[in-house]
Subunit: 132 residues, 2 copies
Amino acid sequence: MKGVILQDSRFIKRIKKRESTVQKEMGGDRTAYSNVEYYPLITSRSDDATNFSMRIYKIGANGHTGTHKHSYEHEVYVLKGKGCLLLDGIKLPIEKDDYFIIHPYEFHQLLADEEMLEFICIVPNKLKNQPE
Amino acid sequence: MKGVILQDSRFIKRIKKRESTVQKEMGGDRTAYSNVEYYPLITSRSDDATNFSMRIYKIGANGHTGTHKHSYEHEVYVLKGKGCLLLDGIKLPIEKDDYFIIHPYEFHQLLADEEMLEFICIVPNKLKNQPE
């Protein structure tokens, strides 16, 4: 019986529900952020994810992240809303179902329009100052 | 002027549209697959993505992937529809806005219900037999 219980335990809570995902405090200096919520979905800590983490950001109407750059890339898929990506000073409109990469050391900022902007953001793991 | 042109070229087509994303042929043995479409979104080849690739799979009503396992993980976010993840023989229902990890060497299969199942699937890059 022990074997059965062990096997089952591997699958408990494997499928996670978006609506029950808990918002977390972001690390770092967030003073330049406005109206941004952060939800870690799949991480090395919570899911033993080896190579990359999946997170969701929700930027409320007219909110924005800070302008920043870092040594690692983002891969982004927009789930809801409209807004823009400010990339090294260039303004690029984004909306639901757009996707893009932000390369290492590119200055970037994400801004919401009149409605909430929600997007998946993937980052590599095993980083110094890993954003988990 | 050359500098300006070079800078602009970094941003041309940076934001990609889901509706204009081209379906690609999947590699490997796909005889066990039924009604599956594959769309690479962000890859090392097309986007100079260093660490991981973002893809979308669309599984038509009652379609399914093959049952398979491999040395790398998947991180999955369900965009549309309902279906299930068959994971080492255990059937786990999935639907829009669910997300999960499939660890290396877990036998897995994804199956659609009565409607199309669409999901984002992230895989690490720099792999032998990289699924790009």
